[in-house]
């Protein structure tokens, strides 16, 4: 497969004004201001193939959204080379802009006081979508997202979930080849989150669209993305398959034991780090290399009724990666 997105040593620095607090600080800043360079993205490189669905994850301020904004041509980078579909994004050529869509969960493009259909018509004109294609795409999207009955309802009267569905239709009416989704499920309830994920998965499958998704919800990433890029403080910490994160970062395994008879917590301390203890259940963290030995020791020396050896939760691994702590 060919790369549709190529990013090489991308850097984006912002000059940020630091104001001292209070009125005195404000008056001082009238005459003299202190600035510092905030490194939003600091030497990021990656390639994405056509049809890939990639999760871009990181804590707040990690540089995810800034990277997406550079890829969609909204921001000029400080340094680096970026090619999206063979174009340099910040040249903002209309023929490039017609091939992608940026959906931001926290910003909307729909006209608030009008039914969403009016915004779709406007987008049809802006993206120069032929009438027949517009009708076909709209029908498909309306069916996929099950919104036929609310197309003519004022956007302000829609629930957050319904509005997000409409935002997606507005973003997809020109059938983009690349979709940048910046926290598309933010604020939605679990049912709506699931529906959104199903839609994104189906859209990716049906149109072979390349999708980059940022989200703070690990369920989004786990369900949708085979590949993830972890970014923090503007640098990539990991780029690979979701399963590889466990191999790379999880140094421990979790033994979940159910005891048949009373056991003292202090007796288990020699096995590993006790994460949870509430008789009859205990969860013990042990080094990956000694997991089977620890399990054997438990079975031999304790009244074990049930024993499970598990990988830690992906959320926990990623959280630990960000905080830089040991997973034990």
């Amino acid at each position: 497969m060919s790369s549709v997105i190529a990013v090489n040593k991308l850097k984006k620095y912002y000059k940020v004004h630091q104001k001292e607090p209070g009125l005195t600080g404000s008056i001082k800043s009238l005459f003299s201001r202190k600035y510092y360079d905030a490194k939003a993205v600091d030497g990021v490189s990656f390639d994405i193939d056509e049809g890939e669905l990639v999760g871009f994850i990181g804590p707040n301020g990690a540089g995810k959204t800034t990277t997406l904004k550079v890829l969609s041509g909204l921001l000029y980078p400080t340094f680096g080379h970026v090619s999206v579909l063979g174009y340099t994004p910040w040249e903002r050529k209309p023929e490039f802009q017609k091939q992608f869509s940026l959906v931001m969960g926290q910003k909307n493009q729909l006209w608030w006081d009008l039914p969403a259909i009016e915004s779709f018509i406007l987008n049809k004109e802006i993206y120069e979508v032929p009438d027949a294609q517009y009708k076909k795409t709209l029908d498909e999207l309306v069916e996929l997202l099950e919104v036929a009955d609310i197309l003519k309802v004022q956007v302000r009267k829609l629930s957050l979930g319904q509005r997000m569905k409409m935002e997606l239709i507005a973003a997809l009416i020109h059938s983009p080849r690349i979709l940048f989704l910046d926290e598309p499920t933010i604020g939605l309830d679990v049912v709506m989150q699931k529906k959104m994920r199903d839609f994104i998965k189906e859209y990716n499958r049906r149109y072979t669209a390349t999708v980059i998704l940022t989200s703070h919800y690990m369920d989004d990433v786990k369900e949708l993305c085979k590949r993830i890029i972890i970014i923090d403080k503007g640098k990539i910490l990991f780029d690979g398959a979701l399963d590889e994160i466990i191999k790379k970062f999880a140094t421990h395994k979790l033994l979940t034991v159910v005891f048949g008879k009373k056991v003292e917590e202090s007796d288990l301390a020699a096995i590993g780090q006790i994460k949870e203890f509430e008789f009859p259940k205990a969860v013990i963290s042990v080094k990956r290399s000694t997991a089977s030995l620890a399990a054997a020791e438990l079975l031999q020396n304790f009244p074990v009724a049930d024993l499970n050896i598990e990988e830690p939760q992906i959320e926990d691994i990623i959280r630990e990666v960000f905080t830089g702590r040991d997973l034990a």
Partner: protein
């Protein structure tokens, strides 16, 4: 070029039809702003009567002055009609990062930012101004020709374009210095300048002439065109130079301002 023009017109009409639908849908708001706008129009009329009865402007008789003042009225309300929403929203959007949405569209971001949904109540006032302009022509038996009317419409469009370019220059400051809400109304706040004939400023100092005359020509030139009134060569040159220089300057400023756009973090 015609293809581009056609596309601009198509998008403009799509924006306007959605915008008007919105305006009319909010009936209460529409009615109140319409009444307010017409009250303001009549307040202007009273002040015009005072100006005309108390002051004398060399080279302009009463009928001609009324034409100038109604041209001012038409111009001001058309400027409000076309640009006010864009001027109000754009600095806010640059500040909050919502401008991302416009910038990612495959169309002129300047056009999308400034030609938002026009406000219908201002169009109503502009139409009122046009009706009074026609009544003035009839009442004072002012001689005009089809050429004069065509020239009037062309120069009025030119003046609106100059006004737009000046607004763009102010709005561009938002990209570099962050949210500057005051930049929305600057071009409107100087409207007193283009209420009077440009010729009255001719004897002022250099700086006044440099800054004020180009602005006062925004209404003087269309009014003079309709009246088939001869315009001095320096004034005509100033008008045309302003049109060209501001067109180039505003386009350059807009393009370079977009480079400074830092969006807002989500």
């Amino acid at each position: 070029m015609p293809v581009q023009l056609k596309k601009h017109l198509k998008i403009f009409l799509a924006i306007q039809s959605a915008g008007m639908a919105k305006d009319i849908q909010l009936r209460g708001n529409f009615t109140l702003t319409l009444i307010g706008s017409l009250c303001y129009f009549y307040l202007h009329l009273i002040s015009f009567k005072l100006i005309i009865s108390r002051f004398h402007f060399p080279g302009w008789d009463t009928g001609q002055l009324w034409i100038l003042l109604f041209t001012f009225e038409i111009f001001t309300y058309l400027a409000f009609f076309f640009f006010w929403r864009g001027l109000q929203l754009t600095p806010k959007e640059i500040g909050t990062g919502t401008f991302d949405v416009l910038l990612s569209k495959p169309f002129s971001s300047r056009f999308l930012a400034f030609f938002r949904n026009c406000s219908l109540h201002n169009l109503a006032s502009a139409i009122f101004g046009a009706v009074y302009l026609v009544l003035t022509i009839v009442k004072y038996q002012i001689h005009t020709t089809p050429t004069g009317i065509i020239l009037y419409l062309i120069t009025l469009a030119g003046s609106l374009w100059i006004f737009h370019c000046i607004s763009v220059l102010f709005i561009c400051l938002n990209f570099k210095y962050g949210f500057l809400p005051g930049t929305s109304g600057v071009a409107f706040e100087i409207q007193e300048i283009y209420k009077y004939p440009a010729t009255i400023f001719s004897s002022s100092g250099f700086l006044i002439r440099l800054l004020v005359i180009p602005l006062s020509l925004l209404t003087t030139i269309p009014a003079a065109s309709l009246l088939l009134k001869p315009i001095s060569f320096p004034l005509l040159t100033t008008y045309l130079s302003s049109l060209i220089i501001l067109s180039i300057w505003s386009q350059y400023s807009w393009s370079s301002a977009l480079r400074h756009y830092s969006s807002a973090s989500s």
